[in-house]
Point group: D2
Chain length 483, copies 4
């Protein structure tokens, strides 16, 4: 009550400071910029040399303003300056190493630690003295990522950003908030902008994802970036685990009474800040949302994703055209018969015939089981990035769904397959351990069963896949004429 | 409006999490504590070894709960564990040093930096994953400071705390808030508790410092410690620079119309968190409050402190009893005559006679000028800690006030002297530079003039100080009889 | 700070109550409704007879729930019941009148007042005991207005509603709020819905009216109807008084720096609640917004509307086809020559020729001057309802703008004319008095000058209006062929 | 979330307006007051004559400012002006009556209603146009109550205030808020000030009533008086129905875990606004708090007061000294034996002897049962005002507690007795009906049983009350000597 009002004041203040910073963006001219490439050297030196107190805030603000107004060359100049000039002082580092080697002990080790810290970390910390500094630093990192490969010194600078951001965006500082239809419009606008998995086409669609009683959206915020989410997840409350995203996003849907929902479906997770790439929030987000939902609606007992499989089609393509290296193995995939069936994928209309569709999907499912459970990258990791994320979090591979995403993107990346990862808080630890220590993906029996070679296809309708595809073509032409 | 309401929600959430943490404090028994000294080793190892995601939050919470419930021995165990076991891995450090020495370059330098970072920093960062973790870590540091001298490895651990706190409590994350009589009572209660300079004796006195229109109180908060200020400053709006704290704190005071105030007086600055010792906020606080006040009340043109001189009496005592080492110097202090006069200080009633009081205060003022302007510590710094703080911030030594603080504490620490430090934002930089580079304290002409030796005392009333003191004694006895 | 957080809690509570009421809407079946026409008689009797305390709230809630769920016949039943049965008790009224007539005095007068108050006022007051009752009563009044003419007793009931609403929606209870792009989406959705003057076509257009720095929107709210505005006004900050709404609403507009604006233009005022018809808010709204803007942006010195003239075309039509009753009067309108020119209005393309347009608009302007300054309704009032509103508020008729609104609606209702009413707070009282006491509309000299008969048209281009129109037709046909 | 932030803005605005009104209180001089008795006549006339829009707000504000600054004579002048001059217009009233009598029907009845309304009601409504007007009107009523008897016209004016306040402070507009230790201090200060039943002696005691987990305080607020509660109730959560207020308020109390509480005890209800006397809130407050608590803590199943019996000692005194009018009735009270025992009450030390105390309390309990269940005022109502309130609300007389309040006030007004009224929401209606229709107080069997005449006292210790009192005196003297 009282306190919370007081607290709100705190963040308003932050927010206002951020805003005024934004408004300060005056363009190069007002800042006396010469052609967009300011000379940052003396400014950084002054920032570092002062005790950081007498006028550190003003200096930090000036550097950030200049950087923001600079052109791309100017921006790169600054980052290269940090990367090249503001590493550790080598004379001091060498001296500290000498002392440590002569006399190893707590204080000489400490001295090496201190001497080895790149001075640019202190530069970045002092830049963060400025009000709104953090959002500018996030933008700086975003820019750095675009030029990271251009100079051998830049990756080390990037490491420093990651190091500091890991402190500043520590989980302990993040705040989970429910976003709904009574959220301020400027924030909702960002949600539309940031949704990366299943695009939101305007306000009406946004409303359909937020306003119905059986829909939820949660986001993580950082107190210093209050107008801007870090990551968000969209949740559908359902009576059962859904197999297709079309059902979840359907325009004319009858909402269910949330009290009757038994299943919370995480159907879209979007990272918002490119500049925070590599700082992981998603795992914490899912687990905290699970806790929130369990608290609010104890009758919900199933927490599951409905996820894309972005790497599947590429992998499958490689397998189809690879020499039969798995031949001889019992569970090899694809078998020659499967390879034959998968030819259908080369035609965009393969889903139109129920018969063909059934045959192809059966093979796809077995393929996906291999993809998740058997196939690994060169360095032994699960191939699919989304799978790596959820399985690494301790989720279980619950179900693979044929034609779960019929959108162009869905068909292209995974021939329509979608997957449900199941989050059971009690099993998370064990699942995670199994993966990390034994490389083992925990999956539902039905998924494991998919690994087995398919029974020889019934040839009731006669002919191989070639025949069937030809028949399909004929029917489609007739249909086209009749239309 | 909308957004700010949204924002407020953010911090409520933080606050609630903090609170629930607090409520979770279940005592050793509930946590399965064995005699108050849990075995932290396996817990820390698990915390570090996991990727920090699958169950890092739960592990962090468990360690913090255990530490909070442990007895002092258990608490020390944990800190020693961090200090002794979780430094850098020396094998890796040595390897990195070898590689660096063989081939100095960006990547080998980077590798040394990484290898040299004590692993306990990562432990602390992971502990901060837990909701409310930061407040527990601040408490941990507070405890550490009490045992810091007990083991040679602890200072390095303390450095790690300072390093991380400097990031987490970076100025950019702090929020300035005005505290007034409409602030929630639980927060005001803390203000009463934390006031360290001029004690607040209960709610009525607090009200006198907050509610009148010519009084202000500002505090810095951290978004993760919303119920608890980090530091606060009390401000009196006055028509002129005040010389005594009695006037400022007087119980029956007629408030002035703030629109008529020309002077903002910072009469008390209190740090609240012992665990954040060494993380400096005060300088930022004063400057931001100056900016706030200038914005709200443009007619205020003087920003000044009314400060104690905690080290003066001790220094003076030493000078009085030192051999006359300064003899021969023109401005030497104290001269023999002054020494004579200062004898009066040995009697508690020296202020009762106007005549004696005037003589003594004249000498004290000259002494204080020496104390601030001439005297230095062995390593060349200004002696007085409060002076070091304000002068280091770029303030100017504006005025020294006799009998500015007649409280017992004031008489004991500085024979009643108080001082005004003047903050003029335009001169701060130059003042700071003068002090840092030339060791020069910038002072008002009137203060500089005090350095000159006093004119020979007029002996109108006859006799030396001894005579006068004797006369005083006699008068007092008479008074005592007559009462 | 603290207090405001506390206060916010107050209204959240209200809001929640309102919402839960909404959610309670269970439909007739759940309420045990028999065919949608509940028997309200016993319920109202019970509500009135109880002391209103023991179970008044529950009874009120039940009646409101039933009424909401009833069909239109059921709803009318209830209103007729109030109108017919719950007037004053005539036996008591007669007795009170007898006593008063026998012995006129303070207490007998008082007794008549009490006895004369219709008992349905008490019914309505008790219905308002229920949480969220007020919004249901507003809806009840809205329904009443649709059937008001169906029974001779209903107008008296309507008067009771107006009487109570005037108390409950007293200006002292209304709150002015700025609506902007950070306002919750559910509220913005209502703004789109309620805009009645210049329709808002979706969220993008809404954003254009809210988000640019030179646009404002203010609304009045009632503490009991927090999710729903009562009335709102849209404001454009401009460098000068605009003459056309197209400029104000242009899709590709370069916003101006608000600091450079000198003119605040009220270009749309929409009442939101039909059920509050006759309870006037607009006048207070405009004046309070003027005060807000003057406070925030002292450089703005002109407060003006850009208003439609909904009754002009109808009036003009009547004048064109009326016998020349004003013939002989100096300033009669229209003159035969003007009548001739106005023939152009009968063709939709009259604005396409600059020449014709100029001639027609000159006549329209003179006509509008007559319409505002001379023409009156049978009972002596200004004819135009918008003019009545602003002039009655003390505004001044500042300028009439040809082709100010080229939309279909604008051309139809006023042949494109728009008008600026000027609000100068210092003159409001005098302007209002002039209108009320002398029937005089205060107008700018340029408007007064329009009354004078136009100079004989220059016939430079030869021929009368007929010729010119014919020429225009020819040109258009050519254009059509060429397209 | 978003919306609530928006909403909070609403009330901040209200609050600020109120505050600025307060600050405007400039004193008579600034307002051009002549000796503190302004001439209100022309001002009121202007207020009424205008349409209330053009400058109504400014006029209302001026009148309220003048009234606030006026001296008591000036204030009375204004009220008498309203009372005497601004009744109904008698000419219009007479005409309306004539028309009604000639032709009774809906419209002539309506016309009488309108004509009979005192014009001062419209004056008061227009005064409420001014921001913060309502709080000034409440103060006006407070003042009116102090002079109500001074003029025969004032009671009618008071009725008008009550009439309007009943609308403006309608239950539907009130907001229930929990007050706790995080509530702003300025509000808590008012709670200390307003507590009328068991005085709060400063902030420490306030904290004891708010901060422990087993204590609650709820208040009603009006949106226009946000800084000031209307009424509040203090609640103790207990494991059983308490019999003494000393236990509830004990300084050194071990709070219980609220989850273990089964009983919510309303131990103090205080009305805050004298100016709202006669506008009833308490009943609504209790019932809504019951609902809140049931929602938050479903395990609480008993809602009960711990109430004083302010009229008991006076009534008992009358009974003791009345002639034995009840003689002969079976249950007559007091019997001669009881009268004898009650003599002890005339000595302040009667509670010191357990024996005497037991005897006296037995009689007091029987007396109290008579007082509540049998005794009635001349017009047939329950005598005790607190009992009237709770029983009228539908509570049940649950228990009478000897020595429930040993404070001086408690001993004086009820010889220490306190009573528990039980609120069972399901029985409220029936209890209320029983009281209203049959004059019957619903009481627990144990209370009913008290009505029966006491068994003849056992004379084990020999002698009558006189003997026992004498023995008591002797013992006390001995004790005094021994001390």
């Amino acid at each position: 009550m009282g306190t919370s009002g007081f607290i709100s004041g705190l963040l308003d203040t932050i927010s206002n400071r951020g805003r005024s910073l934004f408004e300060r963006g005056k363009g190069p001219a007002a800042l006396g910029l010469n052609g967009g490439r300011p000379d940052f050297g003396p400014l950084v030196e002054a920032l570092l040399s002062g005790r950081g107190e007498a006028s550190g805030v003003a200096r930090a603000r000036r550097i950030l303003d200049l950087w923001t107004a600079a052109n791309d060359d100017g921006k790169r100049d600054f980052l290269l300056l940090l990367a090249r000039v503001y590493g550790p002082r080598l004379d001091r580092l060498d001296a500290a190493i000498d002392a440590y080697q002569a006399n190893p002990g707590p204080s000489t080790i400490s001295a090496v630690s201190r001497a080895a810290e790149p001075r640019r970390q202190e530069v970045l910390r002092r830049l963060n003295l400025a009000p709104g500094g953090i959002s500018c630093l996030v933008e700086m990192r975003r820019f750095l990522l675009t030029i990271r490969g251009q100079d051998p010194t830049l990756p080390a600078l990037d490491e420093d950003f990651v190091h500091l951001f890991s402190s500043w965006f520590n989980r302990g500082f993040l705040v989970l908030k429910k976003i709904d239809w009574s959220t301020p419009a400027n924030l909702l606008e960002r949600i539309i902008h940031y949704e990366a998995v299943h695009q939101i086409h305007g306000w009406d669609e946004l409303r359909r994802r937020l306003a119905p009683p059986d829909r939820r959206l949660y986001a993580f915020f950082h107190p210093q970036l209050v107008d801007d989410p870090l990551i968000f997840v969209e949740v559908a409350l359902e009576p059962a685990i859904p197999g297709t995203i079309q059902d979840v996003l359907a325009e004319k849907r009858e909402p269910i009474d949330p009290a009757r929902a038994t299943t919370a479906v995480f159907y879209s997770i979007s990272n918002c800040q490119e500049g925070l790439k590599g700082i992981s929030f998603g795992n914490f987000l899912i687990k905290q949302v699970v806790e929130e939902l369990r608290h609010d609606m104890p009758q919900i007992d199933t927490f599951v994703t409905l996820s894309p499989i972005p790497g599947f089609a590429r992998w499958l393509d490689a397998r189809r055209h690879a020499a039969g290296e798995d031949a001889g193995q019992d569970e090899a995939f694809p078998t020659p018969a499967e390879r034959d069936i998968l030819q259908a994928l080369d035609r965009p209309d393969w889903t139109l015939s129920q018969e063909i569709s059934a045959a192809v999907n059966a093979v796809l499912l077995r393929g996906a089981a291999h993809y998740f459970l058997k196939a690994r990258t060169a360095d032994g990791r699960v191939i699919d990035p989304v799978a790596r994320f959820h399985l690494g979090n301790g989720a279980k591979l619950e179900r693979i769904n044929p034609l779960g995403d019929r959108s162009m993107n869905g068909m292209r990346q995974s021939h329509g397959l979608m997957v449900n990862y199941l989050y059971r808080l009690e099993e998370i630890e064990a699942n995670h351990e199994a993966l990390v220590t034994r490389g083992e993906v925990v999956a539902a029996p039905a998924v494991l069963a998919l690994l087995a070679p398919a029974p020889p296809p019934e040839e009731a309708s006669g002919g191989g896949m070639g025949d069937r595809l030809r028949r399909l073509s004929r029917r489609r032409k007739v249909a086209a004429v009749e239309e």
